[in-house]
Amino acid sequence: MSSIPHEHVAGHEHGHEHRPAGLMRWLTTTNHKDIGTMYLWFSFTMFLVGGVMALTIRAELFQPGLQVVRPEFFNSMTTLHGLIMVFGAIMPAAVGFANWMIPMLIGAPDMAFARMNNWSFWLLPPAAILLITSLFVPGGAAAAGWTLYPPLTIQAGMGMDLTIFAVHIMGASSIMGSINIITTILNMRAPGMTLMKMPLFCWTWLITAYLLIAVMPVLAGAVTMLLTDRHFGTSFFNAAGGGDPVLFQHIFWFFGHPEVYIIILPAFGIVSQIIPTFSRKPLFGYASMVYATAAIAILSFIVWAHHMFTVGLPVMGLLFFMYATMLIAVPTGVKVFNWVATMWRGSMSFEAPMLFAVGFLFLFTMGGFTGLVLSLAPLDMQIHDTYYVVAHFHYVMVAGSLFAFFGGAYYWLPKWTGTMYDEGVAKLHFWTSLVFFNITFFPQHFLGLAGMPRRIPDYAQQFADWNMVSSIGAFGFGLAQLIFLYAVVKCIRGQGAKAPARPWEGGDTLEWTVPSPAPYHTFETPPVVR
């Protein structure tokens, strides 16, 4: 196929690992496995930082009245929690999985643009530093919500400028990562691996990468317009100067809705690897899975205004966006049915990756149903911007994406570290996460229906009981994540059974053909796929 593997075949295939030691190894590495590891650690660190912010929010909401933080700091917490979890935790985790696994799943020696790969990672820490230090500048961090709606963002202090630059940098990183993934998948597959033979994780990431390239520049445009409105006298979003505050929402959500699928599609991919392996049965409806993913991606461009049903759109606009949004239920339903059909009459076992995949399937579908409820414009007029929405998107992002990533981590940890994770610890992590997740977020449906708006630091008395329950769940969920850290560290330190090349009986993709841990360079000679 490509000439890259053959160069290496000629001479030094084994034992030549020209890499500096210590910190320089990580700063200068162009190896997809090193970079994948860095992405995953970065993501987990950000997950803990964003988690502490979430717990600050839940501590304040434990009881009515102001106890822990001031309202302006509370608003900064909700804003940074959202930005950090979306851009710092979930998206880099997905890119980490892509870096580690896509070359090994398609039989390629590395990513296509190895140096750019290094750069796309190393852009992220400065962006994270900008976001976190914005808490300490005059005026405090951005406090207008992760959606950054003007005119509130025009009023804010310099913390907003730092946020805008952080978003720019993270966007550049995502675009470079996507170019790399697309090029790798299209050009570096092993001989015989046609597109329709690729593991589904590669497919979902290929489509995700196209989405990223399409919408990240849109976000960059939106925040740049904010910046010039703030400092250079433009009036894009200021009615007094001929602009329109709602224009920002249209632009933001044209990015924001595909972004939702950018977050969930890689998770779909991971689940589509795990379920067949532990059902010991091929994925049901591979082709329809690919088409459904593409359909979801295309629909994601024409549904953005369902985030804006209450801004006062004309009735024809409301109808169009309502119908288009409802349509998404069709391809999403196909995926859920396909996963269940994969399990049907399989020979299932329930190690931690499978538990997380089933947990994902169950809870993500609940998030899908509440999404259907929210898609109905007249109903959304009531529950828009309430805790019902908060519950909905945590069901799809936490129990959806995050659970799938935990499943993926346990699934591939033996390959990454050469050591089997501790099954008991991992199962404890799953069950505590599952229980506390539901204690945290299920009651928020009730709160939203009963009329509690989101993003408020204090609330009326009738909301007190469920908020207390939710806060207790949140602290439980936060603590449960330390179990994950323990399980991973144990694996890395080699405390556990030695992992064979193929630890899962049902694993039939290419990564299981190389030893565990995977050598620094794999597939320098491309495998042949029949």
Binding site: L66, N338, D465
Partner: protein, 376 residues
């Protein structure tokens, strides 16, 4: 063994006691769903919600019934051998088409309710609603009066120094008052940033957008007081600007309107009156509490790095004209909004107050006539 048994029984007893303790707590937490509807729209929203939820529950039970059956029967530990089928075009077409048909079933009632929701035509009366950081303004366009609606909950309750009242955070000084069984059209806009006007019992939520006017409508069917909140993040006091609507019988409403008109006349100040400084400052303190204290704080110290202190401020202790200009026009790029919507007398009062309160010691009062002059 026996001891273990006892231990288990004791543990079980504690668990049951714990669960029993939880039950009253859960019974108390009776907010599970929508507030009682008092408009046709709110009623339709609830029946739409319940209809969709039942469809979802049926699908959910169907799909996950199959999945859990499979999880228990088709597992390796019970010796189930894996089948190797991996596609079936017929089945795949069926589970693409059937959901589509179900969606059509849902779309029909949703479209009907939506058309009703958006039909603001031929109202019996119109009220203009304006969102401010952080209060609501209500203008009765046909009657020619208007007022602000501020949070009434005392700070002491919010800061836990006093027991919280029954309508904690959901009470205002001047609610919106409307007659029962009347189609009320609300024109909604904002003065500074986005807000959202929301009354759950009416099923109405409409964002307030500075520079644009949007509309919504409701027709309340029961006399009573209905409470909601601002639903769009609008800054630090977002959680503290409730919407309260009092629905009165038509007779009571007519009386209330007459009373309001009288009040307006009585309160109309003679703009050329020359006030005594003390009198003016006393009035200014009230204006300050309603309009300025949220940022600059009641003690005039502001919030460091966010809202400047007025106590000892150069502007407040400087030339009158400069401070008046700032209050009238606001300061671009900051949260300091223009306050020109206040009356000349109110502005004169609040400026006089800030110049003589706390450690500030200006001797001379600012008169309404000076404000009038500064407006030009």
């Amino acid at each position: 063994m026996v001891r273990n048994r006892k231990g288990q029984v004791a543990a079980a007893r504690t668990l049951i006691a714990g669960a029993a303790g939880l039950l009253p707590a859960l019974a108390h937490a009776r907010v599970f769903t929508f507030q009682d509807p008092v408009t046709e729209i709110a009623r339709q929203q609830i029946s739409l919600h319940n209809f969709i939820m039942w469809i979802c529950v049926v699908i959910f039970v169907g799909v996950f019934g199959v999945m859990f059956y499979s999880i228990f029967k088709h597992r390796k530990s019970v010796g189930h051998q894996a089948a190797q089928f991996h596609e079936n075009t017929m089945v795949e077409v069926i589970w693409t088409v059937i959901p589509f048909l179900i969606l059509l079933f849902m779309a029909y009632p949703a479209t009907k309710t939506l058309l009703l929701f958006k039909d603001t035509s031929s109202p019996d009366m119109t009220v203009k609603v304006t969102g401010y950081q952080w209060k609501w303004g209500y203008d009765y366009l046909q009657e020619g009066f208007g007022f602000y609606s501020n949070l009434k909950t005392p700070l002491a309750q919010i800061e836990n120094r006093e027991a919280k009242g029954e309508n904690y955070l959901l009470e205002v000084d001047n609610p919106l008052v409307v007659p029962v069984d009347t189609k009320v059209r609300v024109l909604i806009t904002a003065n500074d940033v986005l807000h959202s006007w929301w009354v759950p019992a009416f099923g109405v939520k409409q964002d307030a957008i500075p520079g644009f006017v949007r509309d919504a409508w409701f027709k309340a069917e029961q006399v009573g007081t209905y409470r909601g909140q601002c639903a769009e993040l609008c800054g630090k006091e977002h959680g503290f600007m409730p919407v309260v609507v009092e629905v009165k019988s038509k007779e009571d409403y007519a009386k209330w309107v007459a009373g309001q008109k009288q009040k307006v006349q009585a309160a109309a100040d003679d703009p050329s009156k020359v006030w005594d400084g003390k009198e003016l400052a006393a009035r200014g303190e009230k204006v300050f509490a309603a309009n300025c204290a949220a940022c600059h704080q009641a003690n005039g110290k502001g919030v460091p790095n966010a809202f400047p202190a007025l106590d000892g401020s150069k502007v407040v202790n400087g030339a009158k004209a400069e401070q008046l200009a700032l209050v009238l026009n606001g300061k671009e790029g900051t949260a300091m909004a223009s306050f020109k919507q206040l009356s000349d007398t109110d502005l004169a009062a609040v400026v006089t107050y800030t110049r003589s309160a706390w450690g500030n010691t200006a001797a001379e009062a600012v008169q309404p006539a000076e404000v009038k002059a500064a407006r030009k």
